[in-house]
């Protein structure tokens, strides 16, 4: 299915879930409401017309504060349907003061580690994740390194960092 068709299908099944659409992007994506994400994820995976069996990638990004907005975090899910050969990016934008995003680890098991990574590096808290711990950094690491405002600490457990 083309992007427009996908969008129509999703809108019909879950009205109000899609907040923005970006067909012009290199990888077209939609912005969805945080509360609707779990339902949308199930729809995307289980609807035979959509059939997004593969979560290709789950990334977090940090959008620094601009003139109009305070800084925000985004979690983006890149989906692919091996059967229909179509792709879709699904993005959720979160306020960095309340970085809670519903987990999709129950829908696509591969999201488990990717979510842990996004939590580790960016501090996005995936609610409902079975085991949300740091994955790359040590458990007692401070801060989330990929945030734009991250300052590398001088030492870690007595060892100089630079």
């Amino acid at each position: 299915m083309e992007f427009a068709e996908l969008l129509g299908h999703i809108r019909a099944a879950l009205p109000g879930a899609v907040l923005e659409e970006h067909p012009e992007a290199f990888s077209p994506w939609i912005l969805v409401a945080r509360a609707q994400l779990p339902a949308l994820a199930l729809l995307l995976r289980d609807d035979p017309a959509l059939d997004f069996a593969q979560l290709m990638c789950l990334s977090g990004t940090h959008l620094p504060a601009s003139a109009s907005e305070s800084d925000r975090l985004a979690s983006i899910f890149h989906l692919f349907s091996p059967r229909h050969r179509h792709k879709l990016g699904v993005k959720v934008v979160l306020d960095s003061a309340d970085p809670a995003c519903p987990s999709v680890a129950g829908v696509w098991p591969t999201a488990d580690w990717h979510e842990r990574e996004a939590y580790d590096l960016l501090g996005i808290v995936y609610e409902g994740h079975p085991d949300l711990r740091r994955i790359l950094c040590p458990d007692d690491w401070e801060g989330h390194p990929l945030r734009k405002d991250y300052v590398t600490p001088a030492t870690y457990n007595g060892m100089p960092l630079d």
Partner: protein, 168 residues
């Protein structure tokens, strides 16, 4: 260097003449710890394989347990998460023991020097290093040369790197 006979320092000791034998034995039989960290470990494996054949120098006996190893080849980037383990493994090796720092990353952090918030900038910050092999990654020949240098150090022909710079 008189590592194994340190306890007899100042004693009469036949060992002055035996020291040569002792040092030769240690130098010519360096069993490395099976321990690879990153890219350099692949070159370390290549050094063990057919073309470069570290076995020629008697070092093909990669011991998986530090208890039986003589030298630790820190081959790759040491991260903050790994550093304590590297240190523990080093500590668990029996004396006399040696460390070869293979590659820029373990020498000084290498390409991760500037922005690598999670990278230890040089393994010599946690364990004393005897030989530094430059390169990213060093070629297997460089590792063989590094082991040759280590042999010279053991034989006392070449000083160990400045003791003050080594954190023990």
């Amino acid at each position: 260097m008189n590592l194994p006979i340190e306890r007899h320092e100042g004693g009469n000791i036949i060992l002055t003449s035996a020291e040569w034998l002792v040092n030769e034995a240690i130098a010519r039989s360096l069993w490395p710890l099976t321990f690879g960290l990153a890219c350099c470990a692949i070159e370390m494996m290549a050094a063990g394989a057919g073309r470069f054949d570290i076995a020629r120098f008697g070092s093909e006996v990669f011991r998986p347990s530090p208890r039986q190893a003589d030298c630790m080849i820190v081959a790759g980037t040491v991260t903050m998460k790994m550093a304590s383990r590297v240190k523990l493994l080093y500590e668990q090796m029996p004396e006399p023991k040696f460390v070869i720092s293979m590659g820029s990353c373990s020498n000084c952090g290498g390409p991760y020097w500037q922005h690598g918030y999670h990278v230890l900038k040089g393994v010599d910050r946690i364990i004393p290093v005897d030989v530094y092999i430059p390169g990213c990654p060093p070629r297997p020949e460089a590792l063989l040369e590094g082991m040759e240098l280590l042999r010279d150090i053991i034989r006392g022909k070449r000083p160990r790197p400045d003791a003050a710079a080594r954190t023990a």
